[in-house]
């Protein structure tokens, strides 16, 4: 696929001028430079950026008399605008978590028994380097894979590339946003990115399809969502669960799970047949509209009604509502979208609906983001791997443009197209993020080496040969955050306080490991500050100002086509592809077609899962402050169904899935806020790692129950809403 990027990099000089201006305004605000907090009296406020999720909000940590006191939003930061989310505010709980990993560990018993001995860093890294070299000698460097989530993995990726392995993946693609990115690339030639380029704050009509903003606490989005609600924007929410967002909606559509594509097609049918679309926009930027329109003829609201459970009049009324406010109607692309196996095509339908409404490139739709130009550090060239990436042999999934974690797992299990004998896992709990835990465990048993680098003893750490304890974000430097966003900026993460035990920052670990592997030449810098200062200086910015303020903002760029953002599309036709020759050529539907979802056994409920605002993935349940907000999850059951089953809120049940897997005991939440045919869990609970003493056994984990998954044929994403459970009395199991 051609990769025309609309990233527009700013000229250095302009950014510098603005940075100086910003600096002079705020210098007095922050009393101390980085690292001055610990061990000194008084209150020191040190700017950094958050790591409780991947949004990377600018934060200011207050250290009072040498102790961490609180963390607040950095008012200079355009992401958080001075206000963190509850997880960010509770970040000090990550520092004081008594269950943190403290020292390197080397396994002494069988994998998964969680028995280790303490080791020095030298010993642990020697152990890893020796086994990596052994795998390289026997199979080649490509037989090592790195799973890495977030910015913190930057230096480990560098070490891996220097070592010669191309196999680097994160669950954020095949288990999260991948289908969305593929659907939008196929349509607009571009992705929505992260943070998403959604102009929620200017939307007149916002459509959320399964997206539960407010429970899903992506800070900027939630702030803009509240702004939109506050000024009375029209909100349409489609969800089997009456989410917090649904409670604020003008239209709530209680859709039958897995049928969203039918609704999308019917909406587009109405908008096309009633000629409510932006005809000028479509004519100017669209490709293949006639074929697209013709394919929509059968997708009437009457056809969609029995599929979705949404009556034809509501489908028509909501389609007209969207058209009424176009182009300031934003049909939100969502984020975690691996649901039913039709996910890339459903995401493409969302892209197409936005295209009909003319919202891409328009105010209140999708803006055009920009980032600062911060040159890379001049490293030596990486060796060229002798073998291609292992995760997607013969481009089985032709539209996967990022590596597939589950593809690496498959290769590890089968040895095809070549063996994978070592995994290094950074900051991602693969046992909670990949579907089918048994497959992951079986793959682990094929390995000669499993290394986990994390801050807490996660489930995947329980299976590791070597566990390396990382310093938390408040104790370390990291790669710069050069964000592609509404406003360009560069942000610095810097230590606020010293690590309490023998934890080390990721950059130190990656650099030391490279040395042990004889790859020292790839780290010409000695210290991270030297590296960061170099990059900042090359960008024409002042590192001292960055340390003082935590970030430097660049000048805003045009956000919309109308104000000068380029209306260019990176598709083969250079237009918005209503009809996709790319898909047709690859043997897929050139316009999305509806396929009914997998049905469950009679009497079983479809298992759905989502987020709570106070937790991130499975990594915050031992944070004592956040745990105080939500100690365990509950299974949401429709109130009528609960009555029928003789259950009331607070009763303990176990969930049993279609393959006989039984969950931990979990409390029932009997509620009028969910359909009768599904149940819902907040993800990340039900920990089984004994090292997580506080979180162990609290609530139930969806990951355990997701034994089945349906793979998206376009891009290899693993759909997880295809599992079904029954509720069993806790005493019976």
């Amino acid at each position: 696929m051609p990769a025309l990027s609309r990233r527009r990099f700013l000229k250095i000089s302009a950014a510098t001028v603005l940075a100086a201006g910003v600096a002079s305004r705020v210098t007095r605000t922050f009393a101390a430079a980085a690292g001055a907090g610990a061990g000194t009296s008084g209150v020191h406020r040190i700017p950094t950026f958050c790591d409780l999720c991947f949004w990377k909000c600018g934060a200011i940590a207050s250290v009072r008399d040498g102790r961490l006191w609180k963390i607040e939003g950095n008012p200079l930061d355009p992401l958080c605008r001075g206000r963190l989310c509850p997880r960010g505010t509770g970040g000090i709980g990550a520092y004081s978590d008594p269950d943190r990993l403290r020292t390197p560990l080397i396994r002494t018993r069988e994998r998964g028994e969680e028995k280790w001995r303490e080791a020095t860093w030298d010993e642990a890294l020697d152990y890893i380097a020796e086994r990596m070299q052994r795998i390289k000698a026997a199979h080649g460097p490509e037989s090592l894979a790195l799973f890495s989530h977030g910015l913190g993995g930057t230096f480990l990726k560098h070490t891996f590339k220097a070592f010669g392995s191309p196999n680097i993946a994160a669950p954020s693609f095949a288990q999260c946003r991948g289908p969305r990115d593929v659907g939008f690339r196929l349509t607009f030639g571009e992705e929505v990115g992260s943070p998403e380029r959604t102009d929620i704050e200017n939307a007149q009509c916002l459509v959320l399809i399964g997206s539960h903003l407010g429970e899903n606490m992506h800070n900027t989005q939630v702030q803009e969502f509240a702004t939109a609600i506050g000024r009375g924007a029209s909100l349409i929410v489609v969800d089997p669960r009456f989410s917090v967002a649904a409670s604020k909606a003008k239209f709530y559509l209680p859709i039958k799970p897995g049928t969203d594509l039918a609704l999308l097609l019917a909406w587009m049918h109405v908008i096309v047949t009633e000629k409510l679309y932006d005809a000028d926009y479509v004519a100017k930027y669209g490709y293949g509209f006639e074929q697209f329109a013709a394919s929509l003829v059968p997708s009437t609201p009457e056809w969609a009604y029995p599929q979705t459970g949404i009556d034809p009049e509501t489908i028509r009324a909501t389609a007209r509502e969207m058209a009424r406010y176009r182009p300031a109607t934003l049909v939100h692309p969502g984020r975690h979208v691996n649901w039913n196996g039709d996910d890339a095509q459903r995401s493409r339908a969302i892209a197409l609906l936005n295209a009909l409404l003319g919202s891409w490139g328009r105010e209140g739709g999708f803006y055009t983001p920009a980032s600062m130009d911060v040159p890379d550090y001049p490293y030596p060239d990486y060796p060229k791997p002798a073998k291609p990436k292992v995760d997607n042999p013969d481009h089985r999934y032709p539209f996967a443009h990022e590596a597939l974690t589950t593809g690496i797992r498959d290769a590890t299990l089968t040895g095809q197209p070549y063996p994978i004998k070592g995994w290094l896992v950074y900051a991602t709990n693969l046992l909670q993020s990949l579907p089918n835990q048994a497959e992951t465990i079986k793959a682990i048993q094929q390995l000669d080496l499993l290394v986990v680098i994390d801050v807490i003893p996660s489930e995947i750490a329980g299976w590791a040969d070597v566990v390396l304890p990382e310093s938390i974000y408040l104790e370390r430097h990291d790669e710069l955050n050069v964000e592609l966003f509404r406003e360009p900026f560069v942000a610095l993460r810097q230590p606020v306080i010293a690590s309490p035990h023998d934890q080390k920052p990721n950059w130190w670990i990656a650099r030391k490991l490279a040395e042990k592997l004889g790859l020292g030449a790839f780290y010409p810098w000695q210290d991270i500050e030297e590296y960061l200062a170099y990059r900042v200086k090359e960008a024409g910015l002042d590192f001292a100002v960055l340390k003082q303020n935590g970030l430097i903002r660049g000048p805003r760029q045009p956000l919309y086509f109308a104000t000068g953002a380029p209306a260019a599309f990176g598709t083969p036709s250079g237009k918005i592809e209503f009809y996709s020759p790319q898909l047709e050529k690859a043997g897929f539907d050139p316009v999305p077609k509806y396929v009914p979802p997998v049905a469950g056994p009679p009497g079983a409920f479809r298992l759905l899962f989502g987020r709570a605002p106070v937790h991130s993935f499975s990594r915050t349940q031992s944070n004592r402050i956040l745990s105080d907000m939500m100690r365990e999850n509950a299974v949401w059951v429709n109130a009528g169904v609960a009555r029928r089953l003789g259950l009331k809120s607070g009763d303990r049940v176990c969930l049993k899935n279609q393959d006989g897997v039984v969950s931990n005991r979990i409390a029932v939440k009997a509620t009028e806020r969910i359909r009768p045919d599904c149940v819902y869990l907040v993800h990340g609970f039900g920990h089984t790692s004994r090292g997580l003493r506080h979180a162990f056994g609290k609530g139930a984990g969806d990951a355990q129950l997701i034994t089945r998954y349906k793979t998206d044929a376009l891009m290899g994403g693993t759909a997880m809403n295809v599992n079904f459970v029954t509720l069993e009395p806790a005493e019976a199991v």
């Binding site: 989310c85 702030q223 509240a226 609600i229 402050i625 907000m629 969910i674």
Partner: protein, 179 residues
Amino acid sequence: MARYVMVIDTRRCVGCMDCVVACKTENNVPEGYNRDWITEEVRGAYPRPQLEIRSERCNHCANPPCVYCCPTGASHVHAQGGVVLVTHEKCIGCKGCLAACPYNARFIHPDGYVDKCTFCLHRVTQGLQPACVSVCPTHCMHFGDLEDPQSDVSQLLQARAHHALLPEAGCQPHVFYLT
């Protein structure tokens, strides 16, 4: 004389609990206790329920039963803004106020005294907002002086429909919810 109140917009609030977390870190509230909390009130039946989410705390009542029943004078109304406070040193932990408060806003701190929301008076006297208000990502919380007709809170209560909790208890609560 100022009269401090809190006005919370339930339309904007998403119940994220940032207010609860911020209070905890600002005021060093011990594990297992909170001075504020989120209530979700559901009415009606699926698929047309209604949901009101509220950030709740001490209502700093103008007619405070907790103050009237305190045998030591630890619970008192502060001269500034009518804020209801507890002097820890005077509190004997008798729990009379816990029983008297219709809002369950008070708890016994592990150190033995009664603790609760102070409207962050230590911040307010420095010209800052209460911690909960200052962090709220949805900007749904407002704090200010009801006696000042130009204040945010006065203007909002003028312009928007609102209610307070358990008016029938007769305590004259001073936390208001915009609907």
